[in-house]
Homo-oligomer: 173 residues x 2
Amino acid sequence: MTVLKSAVANAVKTARPARKEPLESAVENTELQLGELSEQLGYSLKRAQLKIFENFLRCVAPLQLTPAQFSVLLLLDKNPGRNQTEIANTLGILRPNFVAMLDGLESRELCARLRSTNDRRSHIVVLTDKGRAVLARAKKLVAAKHEARLNEILGPAKRAALLDMLATIAREL
Amino acid sequence: MTVLKSAVANAVKTARPARKEPLESAVENTELQLGELSEQLGYSLKRAQLKIFENFLRCVAPLQLTPAQFSVLLLLDKNPGRNQTEIANTLGILRPNFVAMLDGLESRELCARLRSTNDRRSHIVVLTDKGRAVLARAKKLVAAKHEARLNEILGPAKRAALLDMLATIAREL
DNA sequence: CGATAATTGTTATAGAGTATATCAAATAGC
DNA sequence: GCTATTTGATATACTCTATAACAATTATCG
């Protein structure tokens, strides 16, 4: 492997010393430098998104709702009378994948499929009373714990600016 | 299913009319209202992140590098002499999963594992010359196409503010 | 009106990414 | 020297995303 020759030479010289240094020096040598990586919007977005979803799951743990499920319930509440395809498309979920999602929510009696009277191929997806109640509780948890924490970290103005920028990216890119 | 009684009554009244309306009216009735969903930072983040990754893949398609692979190469370049665990931890990738990632990059001769002289359990992961060349090309594509597009959409000031906020979230949440 | 194309929900399957458990070899700590 | 911990690897499972195909239904067009 000739491609390794210069790599070998470099690695021998720069290999990080074994962990026998004083603690202070070890701290310095432990953290990797992100360098240009921290300027990559995609990377920063991904890391932030993961953190936010983790926080969501923790805050809403009593209700055992994922972000995606919460989104579905919100959308059903705001847009009564819509079929599966419409809900799925709006959320960027593919139709086959939305079936299982809906199965899960329906099995918990949070929503239901009703055969449409206008088009017998499709289902109108409706929130049940239980679903409405769970959604209300979820909204409270999200507002009081999840979004409040983000507001605390960023402040209202920055949070609003962030939302605006993200919407712009999603729309224009 | 008693939970459905009120849901049935509501659905019958509000079911979206079949697609027999004039076109103008149909346009109005097609778009779902996001309502509170658009105020959810997590949702907006996820949608933006997906868009950005799609754009990245398109811009860097000639080099067939995923965002994660690009991140690895950047980190290897910036932090010579580090082992697998360190690289993986920094990127939030679990050790077992990093093995396959590295297999892929190594099979393309973009990097190599060198058994460490300080600790024979571990590999120092090094960029090859080929890897360095591919990284340079990727950086150019990313700068000229991917990040430039984002800069175009947001402007430099907003882009910088966005990066800052995302870093804050990732650090504090 | 009939034939064809398109749509809706579903099933099956595959791929990518993430998480956990386990292991052998090596190292660290006492 | 013994035990605990670490490193990379393997195996496996789960979650999310994507594609193909199908039956039933609806839309379109001549």
